[in-house]
């Protein structure tokens, strides 16, 4: 199977980002960029499917040249080759999905897999928009993927409110990943060495003839309301007393 995996670099999610004074964005100096964790899960799933059924895993990212680093990490995990649609322009989810659609039309993979949400912008949109543009089925929030023997259909179990739901999709389709799909492997040292020689095609976004002008414009960022937390109680008796007489929630 030919599998296209879309990945997005995000600031290390374990670090708390600071907002720039003028609200124009977040301070990214000294913060390590990593593959969005949900995209890492997508890479891992693609590799496992290839290990089982054969085929090719192609990484796709849309963004500046610096994204190459995270793409190399995905190649070091074991992906075969990569495509970087290069742009320094600001994009919204629609713009990203439209550019992706062009790459999908060129590559014609059996399916596209990507994260359900990027943990920086938290939009949870790109996969579904892409599926709409391509007129393909979508299966979001996947925690299990099983293929029919002939590889033409997939049953995807989805993490939804209220439990788990399974839908069947004929391929080609777009699948997005949830946390319980798998545990991604680390890139091995030989993997990292090999990755350096793997093909990475750079396509200038402007060459794709896509109108990706912004429809969702981020004007500024502000910090959320701070909580006045941090108070400790000595024991259970004090806790109950405070809940009853101070917070009045009992």
């Amino acid at each position: 199977m030919k599998i296209l995996v879309a990945i997005k670099p995000v600031p290390n999610p374990d670090e708390r980002v600071k907002i720039r004074k003028d609200g124009s964005g977040v301070v990214l100096d000294n913060i390590k960029m990593v593959i969005n964790p949900f995209c890492e899960i997508a890479v891992e799933e693609a590799l496992r499917i290839r290990e089982k059924r054969g085929g090719e895993v192609v990484i796709l990212t849309i963004g500046p040249k610096e994204s190459e680093q995270q793409v190399r990490t995905a190649l070091a995990m074991g992906a075969d080759r990569a495509i970087l649609v290069e742009t320094t322009k600001e994009l919204d989810s629609l713009g990203v999905a439209k550019l992706m659609a062009k790459a999908v039309e060129q590559e014609k993979p059996d399916f596209v897999i990507m994260g359900k949400q990027a943990v920086d912008d938290d939009n949870n949109q790109v996969g579904q928009i892409l599926a709409a543009i391509l007129s393909q089925p979508q299966a979001t929030f996947g925690s299990k993927i099983e293929f029919s023997e002939d590889g033409k259909k997939a049953n995807v179990t989805r993490e939804v409110d209220g439990g788990l739901e399974t839908i069947g999709v004929t391929l080609p389709a777009v699948i997005t990943t949830d946390l319980r799909l798998n545990e991604p492997r680390y890139a091995s040292l030989p993997g990292i060495m090999k990755a350096k020689k793997k093909e990475m095609k750079v396509i200038p976004a402007d060459s794709l003839g896509v109108d990706a002008s912004l429809k969702v414009r981020v004007l500024f960022l502000a910090p959320p309301k701070e909580r006045a937390g941090g108070r400790k109680v000595a024991d259970v008796a004090e806790l109950v007393d405070k809940l009853k007489n101070e917070a009045k929630v009992l």
Binding site: P13, D14, V17, L94, V119, D120, D122, N123, N124, Q125, Q128, I129, L130, A131, A132, I133, P137, Q138, T140, F141, S143, K153, R158, E159, D161, G162, E165, I167, G168, V169, T170, A173, D178, L179, R180, S213, K215, V216, R217, V218, L219, F220, P223, P224, R227, G229, G230, R231, K232, V233, D235, V236, A237, L239, V240, K242, L243, K244, V249, L250
Partner: protein
């Protein structure tokens, strides 16, 4: 002014309260940009859902019924909403930011080439233009965004808007003739997390446990505490990943967002991703044996203790209080 459409969430005929906050958000929006609020119910045998919605202050309810809508599928929902937007000229469409709205609304955005703001928590107006607030970076930033194009699409964070109250008058329910072709998508099955408890996102009290609870058996302790409040039970990702709690109990950035009156975090360290899902709770109680745990920074009442000692004591104290 163009009117506003709310897409109603239900689980095969069981109304979900997520819709009520979405109606409230739609009304705030109508107050700013004008227009009236309609609701759309798609399903099979869902007249009662339409009647419920009709009693909550919308202008009208569109009811589209058919075999093809008996099971929710994004591929059937999105084109129908797109068709109604085009026919009736709606200027905005809203749906809850649940796994329902998050699934089909971006697809709608793709079909209509229309801007979608996810998980919104507020609207404002500056001059003539609409401003929308939505959290980013696990709730560590609130972005103000502007949408260009039409219709405007939103998924609404349930905790940010009060549920729409019952209205005096009942809105008319109008059947609409719509159909869909799910093509290569089929519904295969559903495994419901059975629970007599209120939904996490609606509960007045939530009791959550994390890796510190150490085993699925120990969730009994969590249940006993929850029983005293008719509380919902939540979990950290670590507890869900370990298989001690079902996936839809996960509270956090990538799970459910809750804001109850009272939130208990038992054996939860307080990672950024967990805090994103609960830090708007009114009162937070944390019980953790590590006094350095970050959860204490957001807790109103932090108790440094072994939860296996503190929670049984707490249950006993609360029972005493109740019988007094």
């Amino acid at each position: 002014m163009a009117d506003i459409l709310v897409v109603v969430e239900h689980q095969e005929g069981a109304f979900r309260k997520t819709t009520l906050s979405t109606i409230s958000a739609a009304k705030v929006l109508a107050g700013l940009i004008g227009g009236e609020v309609d609701a759309l119910v798609l399903g099979q045998g869902v007249r009662s859902v339409a009647d419920t919605v009709a009693a909550h202050g919308v202008r009208g309810v569109l009811l589209g019924e058919g075999e093809v809508f008996a099971r929710y599928l994004a591929v059937s929902y999105a084109p129908v909403v797109a068709q109604l937007v085009n026919e009736k000229g709606y200027g905005a469409v809203l749906a809850p930011a649940s796994t329902f709205g998050k699934d089909f609304m971006p697809r709608l955005s793709g079909l209509l080439d229309a801007p979608l703001a996810s998980d919104i928590v507020g609207f404002a107006k500056e001059g003539n233009s609409l401003r929308v607030q939505r959290p980013m970076y696990a709730g560590n930033a609130v972005a103000t965004v502007e949408l260009v194009g039409s219709p405007l699409l939103f998924t609404v964070r349930q905790t940010a808007f009060d549920p729409a109250p019952k209205a005096d008058a009942k809105a008319p329910v109008t059947p609409v003739s719509v159909t869909a072709d799910p093509g290569g998508t089929t519904f295969v099955g559903r495994e419901e997390t059975r629970s007599e408890r209120p939904e996490l996102t609606d509960a007045r009290v939530v009791v959550s446990a994390g890796r510190g609870i150490k085993s699925p058996e120990n969730f009994k302790l969590v249940e006993q505490l929850a029983d005293l409040f008719q509380a919902a039970i939540g979990a950290s990702r670590a507890a869900v990943d370990a298989g001690w709690a079902p996936n839809d109990w996960q509270v956090g950035q990538t799970g459910k967002i809750v804001a109850p009156e009272l939130y208990f975090a038992l054996g939860i360290s307080g990672a950024i991703q967990h805090l994103a899902g609960m830090k708007d709770s009114k009162v937070i109680v944390a019980i953790n044996k590590d006094e350095e745990a970050p959860i204490f920074q957001v807790a109103d009442y932090g108790l440094v203790a072994d939860l296996f000692k503190a929670v049984p004591d707490l249950i006993a104290e609360l029972k005493k209080l109740k019988s007094a």
